[in-house]
Amino acid sequence: MARMTMIEAIRDAMDVKMGMDEDVVVFGEDVGYFGGVFRCTQGLQEKYGRHRCFDAPINESAIVGAGIGMATYGKRPCIEIQFADYVLPAYDQIVSEAARIRHRSNGQFTAPIVIRMPTGGGIFGGQTHSQSPEAIFTHVSGLKTLIPSNPYDAKGMLIAAIEDDDPVIFLEPKRLYNGPFDGHHENAVTSWAKHEKGEVPEGHYTVPIGKANVVETGMDVTILAYGTMVYVAQAAARENNIDAEIIDLRSLLPLDLDTIVNSVQKTGRCVVLHEATLTSGFGAELTALVQQHCFKHLEAPVLRVAGWDTPYPHAQEWHYFPGPKRVGKALKRVVEAQ
């Protein structure tokens, strides 16, 4: 087993799949010769040739649209969108086309395409390098939406995504690329080399789509989190001495409802976290499901802690980010509620 950053793990996943399956092609803006602005595809062009890993024009809609065409031909495109904020021009191709082709052609044509993109804030990227668009994908039938929180999962989930026969949105929390991040931006970041989830097996393995990961077991409250917020949840629970059960959802759609329901039925309390703006965020769906399936068990309302309903501001980044302090407050409110 090797220690890898999340970037290396993601690259390794593509490397493994490109080696196994010559239908896997990787493309996107700056991903070819240069290896991507976050270096996730570094070396792949050299290793697999310019027909397997190449640069694309700056047109996200065309990147996805052409990818869909390739997929219906029989390729398995694994596409990079440079920042999740830039996926919106491709939204029509993703929703009206990738997600619908199997159903509308009754299975004649399918679009097994993976659309990777760095998501979330924390790098002073301002409103156009920080957004978390998961909720606009989880609303779309026909798509799967994944978001790993560590190198091990990132590799295993990306391999699973590339092997999946349906279109997959693969969100990469960019703040985690180089190390787990607990929301205390004033502290130095620990690197993945020092984290057990930085241990990444060589070669092929998968982390199955649709399975959550119980990161911490606990009795006081269930925290539903994903991506960067998993570490914020841990920090907030620790700092407030709360015995929280923390679930890293990993797969938002399909969702591992059983794991969620079992946990909340046990703890009787639930807090839902995400970095995306609150209103109509994916936390709303989680909350709706929890109250429906755990109604009798709930001792307090499910609380959501999320990004404010504003654009992600540049200067006030850390006031916007739902850090351990805000999460801690919500945990206390929920745990102390009678």
Binding site: N59, G69, G74, R102, N106, Q108, G142
Partner: protein
Amino acid sequence: MSDDKMPEATGPLSISIPEPPTRPGDAPDFSYIEVPKAGAVDCPPVDTKPEDMRDLAYSIVRVLSRKGEAVGPWAEFLGDDLNDESLLRGLKDMMKTRVFDARMLTAQRQGKTSFYTQCLGEEAIATGFQRMMRKGDMNFPTYRQQGLLIADGCSMFDMICQIYSNEKDNLDGHQLPCLYSFKDHGFFSISGNLGTQFVQAVGWAMGSAISGDDKISAAWIGDGSTAETDFHSGMLFASVYQPPVVLNIVNNQWAISSFNGLAGGRNAPFAARAHGYGFPSLRVDGNDYLAVLAASKWATERARRNLGPTLIEWVTYRVAAHSTSDDPSAYRPKEESDAWPLGDPLERLKLHLIKKGAWSEERHTQAMAEIESEVIAVQKEAEKYGTLNRGKGPDPEKMFEGVYKEMPDHLVRQRLEFEA
């Protein structure tokens, strides 16, 4: 720059709102279309550099003369493909398409389906183009390319069942009528969203070429839909990666109520769009079956020889209403289609074949009758399995199928709830 002395302001500005030359009540006017003589346009070798053949975007490739003769360099380029057998097959493909359309239009009026789109007057384009496609190639059509299916010998029974959303509908009722999907006939699942497939066709061709395959693809778009952003996406990716694709614009002058000037088509021919992307384009008489064959041969040959993409603007006229939901008399002169300078594709090919002695009015009448009986028989057969809202239709639960390859838990739960 606020140095108020410098540039001088002028009077009040205004925008221009394009209007078609005529509206209901006016006499039709097609003077905006310059129709060159048949045979007048050069046929360059297929490996001609794009910059050496820009003039082709500004004229119209035509083969059939007024008198019904096949003339000029594009006729020569067709060579052996000009044999009678082949052309008779083309004539019948067009006849069948027209008869099929007429029957389905009536069926919609009778409530047997919710929606239908004819291709009346445009039959030559799709039926002719398909003659140059091979098995395994892929069209990305719009709702007005049923001719591709007819020419490829697709079962009309299957087509009608789809239109009727009946129990034999190959799409299990998922999709709107006419938005067919027939993979075996190289006919991609049609989207209800305009334009989206133009770039997908380019991507498909890229997929084939990346795989070292010999399959090519064809994109299809209407004049109005060239306005969509996906048009640019397709043109750009075709330019950058030079995949084996033919990009077809069917310029039938009208979108729904808006004319092609609203897509920029009166400031420059659509064919000229290719110049900005540096690949060749042809502008072709879409009502001339021979010109269609010739241009299709030229462009598909380029694709097969790995010479890259070609844009073709097919100049034609939408004789029919936009769809069964549309009444064109509200926005264009009723007589416009009669005044259309490029005539009727079926009549023109018929005249040619008669001129050549390969066909006659009698045989035509007889063939027409045969085709009509054939279509009627197939239609009857299809109706045994129901029409929209009649008969048992596709299994309701089928709506849950095909959302994903394997049904995820939440959909399984929803299906259970549905059954309850």
